[in-house]
């Protein structure tokens, strides 16, 4: 064991990209990933999309083939959870009793599904969708389902609803907020997505929560806070996630909405960093710390941290971007729209392909593109700094996004 050895708690996008980038940068110490699941590390985004719909085989989910780990000399400890950090001794202990000494410890612990705090939530037939085991189980049930209730109209809930509706399953989505994807997209985009789901036959109830799940031995119905009883063979709970911070908190590291890190993704302990879904980090233009749940954030933070561990520290300042596939709709988001006071449409929503440019005054904050990948690519350039675009230019179909700047 050398003082330069890197131990990563987690084996998602962030962990794998960190290992890959360290080796690309000729890092020659040991790299060990601690995974609390069995099997090789895999991609989560397709679980509620192409994997669920049957368009992607399970083998294609792997982040890297088995040969990668041998060739790059990256160790993966499977099916064992990190349960403690001894910061003085620089050792991580696992549930199995194994101990791993580290020179640098990276917390890439991700997040866990937020549990539904109502009676009946523990009944069989009330499920979540975050890991491969859950996705496999849910996918296997699909052929026998006639009606499902999805609690939560966030990305996961809507993606699953689209897959289920496409299969002819009667879907009811129950969302406590007044509109779907309230935190994630503008009202214009949200309304368009709501209308699309309704057009596919999904019943979308907004502004109402769930009071209880009923059933004797298995979920049979969901009761809304406004008193409706909705029959269901299965209830999917998709009401967001909670960052996995317990390990860090128990080790005395600062946690809040995530494991708190500085602009270099370092915790207060110089030998411990955190990144990806579990990390709360400072971001220019945002108040307080930001925590993002996305592949882009995980991958770009991993590249930034690898640079620091390779002796080239740079503060993390990448543009956030996200995507979601719902039936034939490809939604791509660049930037963070929170705080926008003006939206400008580019393209006609009735055509099914358009973008929403979200401005705060003259400043472009985010662009949401539906089936308009070129707008998304242009938006990433605009949001990364230069060139600039005004609301009038964004709204003008004759204005060529490529020519700007």
């Amino acid at each position: 064991m050398s003082s330069s050895d890197v131990v990563v708690v987690g084996a998602g996008h962030a962990a794998i990209q960190l290992a890959a980038s360290l080796r690309q940068g000729r890092y020659d110490g040991a790299i060990t990933l601690i995974a609390d699941e069995s099997g090789l590390p895999y991609q989560r985004p397709p679980l509620s999309k192409a994997f669920m719909s049957g368009h992607m085989e399970e083998a294609a989910l792997l982040l890297r083939p088995a040969s990668f780990y041998a060739a790059q000399n990256v160790g993966v400890v499977e099916n064992d959870a990190a349960v403690g950090i001894d910061r003085a001794a620089r050792v991580v202990t696992l549930a199995s009793g194994a101990a791993h000494a580290y020179g640098h410890l990276v917390l890439a612990t991700g997040a866990a599904n937020r549990p539904l705090p109502v009676p009946g939530a523990q009944l069989p037939g009330v499920v979540g969708l975050r890991n491969l085991a859950e996705a496999r189980a849910l996918k296997a049930l699909l052929p026998g389902l006639r009606r499902v209730v999805v609690i939560g109209a966030g990305f996961i809930g809507l993606e699953f609803a689209a897959v289920a509706a496409e299969r002819g399953i009667a879907v009811t989505v129950i969302e406590a907020a007044p509109r779907p994807l309230m935190r994630g997209v503008s009202a214009v985009m949200s309304d368009h997505l709501a209308a699309s789901h309704r057009g596919w036959g999904t019943e979308l109830l907004t502004g109402t929560g769930v009071k209880a799940i009923h059933g004797s031995t298995h979920a049979e119905s969901a009761e809304t806070t406004d008193g409706r009883i909705i029959l269901a063979d299965l209830v999917l709970v998709a009401i967001g996630v909670i960052p996995n911070t317990a390990l860090a908190a128990a080790a005395g590291l600062r946690t809040g909405n995530g494991i708190e890190v500085d602009a270099f993704l370092a915790t207060a302990d110089p030998a411990i960093s955190a990144l990806g879904d579990c990390a709360a980090f400072p971001m220019a233009g945002q108040i307080g710390l930001v925590r993002l749940e996305s592949v882009q954030n995980a991958s770009d933070q991993a590249r930034a941290l690898a640079d620091r561990l390779l002796g080239k520290p740079t503060s993390y300042a990448k543009l956030p971007w996200f995507w979601s596939d719902q039936a034939a709709l490809k939604l791509q988001i660049a930037g963070l729209s929170g705080g926008h006071d003006q939206t400008v449409l580019r393209g006609d929503p009735a055509s099914g392909a358009f973008s929403v440019f979200c401005f705060q005054g003259a400043r472009l904050l985010a662009v949401e593109s539906l089936n308009r990948a070129p707008d998304h690519m242009a938006a990433r350039r605009f949001l990364a700094g230069a060139p600039k675009i005004t609301p009038a230019e964004a709204a003008d179909p004759a204005f060529d996004l490529r020519s700007a700047g």
Binding site: A71, V295, Q332, H376, M377, R380
Partner: protein
Amino acid sequence: MAKITFIEHNGTSHVVEAENGVSVMRAAVDHNVPGIDGDCGGECACATCHVYVEAAWQGVVGGRTETEETMLSFAAATQDNSRLCCQITVSDALDGLVVHTPDGQH
């Protein structure tokens, strides 16, 4: 199977044995070739797998798809021989292929 050579901007080359049917991007990522990110996983949605195809191979590799053409118009430092390698499928015909990676993908 096809032997594919990726030459980095700094001249370092990486030779990869790629299986038929996978994309050239996937082959690069699976073998940890630097300079190819493939952030979107092969959806032709991010333009981070940009390569320059060596002149002798342009005809064999073929032209850009429509989506790819649009995506490349937003990428940096494109040339006539630019391709997004998630859109190139490995086959025996590509045995010996040489591509160059740009200075950066972002």
